[in-house]
Amino acid sequence: MTDSRRILVTGLSTYWGGRLAKALERFPEVEAIIGVDNEEPTVELERTEYVKVGAQHALLRRVVEAAEIDTVVDTRLVVDSATTTSAKAHENNVIGTMNILAACSGPSTPVRKIVFKSSTHYYGCEQDDPAFFDETMGRPHQPRTPIERDIVDAEASLDDFAEKNPELAVTILRFANVLGQDVRTSHVQLLSLPAVPMILGFDPRYQFVHEDDVVHALEHGVRNTLPGIYNVAADGVLALSEVAGLLGRPYAPIIPPWGTGIATGLLARLGLRIPPEMQNQLRFGRGVDNRRYKAAGFHYGYTSRETVNALGEHLRLHPLMRGSQPYRYEREVEEFLRWSPHVRSSRRGSDATGLSRDQLAELRRALSELTAEDSQATPAPAVVPPREPGPSRAPRERPAPEPRRPLQPGAPVDHYDDLESEEVISLLGSLEPDDLRVLRDYEREHAGRDSVLGAIDSVLARSGGASGVAPGRGP
């Protein structure tokens, strides 16, 4: 079905990049998923490798070539000017896109496919727009807001790239306004207000797409070869008054039709930010023709109406539910979980072929010595899991650590006492409950660090006596 095996996802720390990487991890035929961004990921990832890059993605080419990436998914486009400054957005949207394309070009490039997440802001919102934009239509007017200008510029560089590199499949997906319970956009914020603000005398037409459908649409673009431009928007175009009705909220025509710019400036001071690209949309609205992507085999899970209803249900329930702790990326933990031979193979990505750092190897040995002390068992040898037969290219070898000296049961474990408490905690996840108990006793007798003891207890509590420490990971 797909020829995409080695995938690079840009914008891994954005909501979309993270969710897409997670979704792609489910497919066994995908060998490698590499996510790049300048910030740390915000979702738990099982086997996606995170590489930190600068905002301009200048060194991306080396990553692409070294990892023999065949598919690049670019999810990093900023389409909501409320999220960042326009200078940063420009840097990311225009310069970043140029550099990513540069990383994919060249005669020897391994890249065969590019999937680009764009926005229906490409079309703008004007008085003389058609009721449904289709992909063959250009923009009737020059872009008026910085974000729209960026999107048009970014797409222009993609067109240019597609023309010069006809052997690459370039897919551009233009997404309508996204709603969902996890994603934060200006529109979600607007619709979360006690009343839906509107421009007096206007009832714009709106089309939405559910956050899950966005991920599925990106996935569909990766798993199929679909060169060209596609609108992604759910079936059904709603009037904003209808949206307010579905959410069970009144609509408040508080923005005057004339002097809208001044009024939104005042509203911004009161804490209600209406970004410029949204002002035009609140006035004229927009509908797009979504049939082409459906014809390409994509199925939407939600209509626009169902998307709004889902958001409405979430907004009603949200104040009653206690939010769970947001995920925080910790590099050491992630690297340990990926690369340690002590992580049980059922929980490990199939392509983990070695260890990450010498230091980690050392820490691991120290702990295994410690646990062996009690159980009288030999330490688990540094296992290099059997190599996957699939990939033709040889994975880069990583040195497996050699035990420096034979284990002496009962001997004091000097390694362990040298460890910082954070280092110990970072390794707890790989241990069996029995080992943990041993470790806890040892720690209590020797250093007695509260942080370590607390961490061991919490890991034990989470595992609940089960055989493995299995924090709910993966889909």
Binding site: P130, M137, G138, Q142, D203, L238, R283, F284, A295, R305
Partner: protein, 291 residues
């Protein structure tokens, strides 16, 4: 209704898909909704239809309809009519005629100027009562994909702006964009002659200064406007309405719309038929008020 040159051209060429295939992927109808994807509200339209439009159609204008069978019962069709009056009553009357007299009543989509979308108030109301902006893409989607009836006034603003002294003399028929749309969608054109609208809302003068001050499309002087205020726009005189649907003109062949010469010829032909029909109806009319 003409294709505007886009400011930003569309991007990479797309894989060609047969348009029939795309038709299968039209969004389904969600029965819980009160609005269509075009923003049309059955509720508001029905309310207006049973009150104001009903009153004008039956008792005020006493509309008389000929040749309603020329409107096809299924498939897309482009209704083309002459256009007159300060707040033109002809569109609502034609739509009402199809609803009342036809054996298979269908909603009529009335194309209007883009202006209405940008004017507060109108922008809210106009789509709800079944009007769509006169954009070629809109007309094509309605005619070809959704197979609906579309009513266009090729005279456009030139028709409603014209003064009483020029009544029943058709203005230029745009650039033939409507013919192109019908040919592209392979939908028949049904020419329509409306007599009575000119006398029901005569325009004596146009005030350009007021037009500019109010930002409206035009600012006419009629028997009741502006001295009776905005409601004066609805102060129609009780002229007798006669609506005649002419024989449809059909386009079966593929790609006719690319022949600009043919498009112009057909546009002239449609205009000539409507003009002839109008002269014929006026010749037989004994009284402006009683028909």
């Amino acid at each position: 209704m003409r294709e505007r040159e886009p400011a930003v051209r569309a991007g990479a060429p797309l894989p060609a898909l047969p348009p029939e295939q795309l038709r299968e992927h039209l969004p389904g109808v969600e029965t819980d909704r009160q609005l269509t994807d075009w923003g049309r509200s059955e509720r508001i339209e029905g309310l207006l239809d049973q009150t104001l439009v009903e009153f004008f159609y039956r008792y005020w204008f006493r509309a008389e309809v000929q040749g309603i069978e020329n409107v096809p019962s299924s498939g897309g069709a482009l209704l083309v009519s002459n256009h007159a009056g300060a707040l033109p009553p002809d569109a609502a009357m034609i739509a009402k005629a199809v609803r009342e007299e036809h054996s298979h009543p269908r909603p009529v989509n009335i194309t209007v100027e883009h202006f209405f979308k940008g004017y507060p108030g109108f922008s809210m109301l106009i789509p709800k009562i079944g009007c769509v902006a006169a954009h070629p893409a809109n007309v094509h989607r309605l005619l070809f994909d959704e197979e609906q009836l579309v009513l266009v006034f090729p005279e456009g603003r030139k028709g409603t702006e014209k003064l009483y002294k020029d009544r029943y003399r058709l203005r230029r028929f745009g650039r033939g964009g409507f013919v192109e749309a019908a040919m592209r969608a392979k939908a028949p054109i049904v020419p329509i002659c409306v007599v009575g609208a000119e006398e029901s809302a005569p325009v004596f003068a146009q005030m350009n200064l007021m037009k500019r001050l109010t930002g409206l499309l035009y600012f006419p002087i009629t028997p009741t406007f502006p001295h009776f205020g905005l409601l004066g726009m609805l102060g129609y005189l009780p002229a007798k309405f006669k609506i005649r649907f002419l024989e449809p003109i059909r386009f079966e062949e593929e790609g006719l719309h690319e022949d600009k010469g043919l498009v112009q010829t057909v546009a002239h032909e449609v205009r000539a038929r409507i003009q002839e029909g109008l002269w014929d109806m006026l010749r037989r009319r004994k009284s402006v008020w009683f028909g």
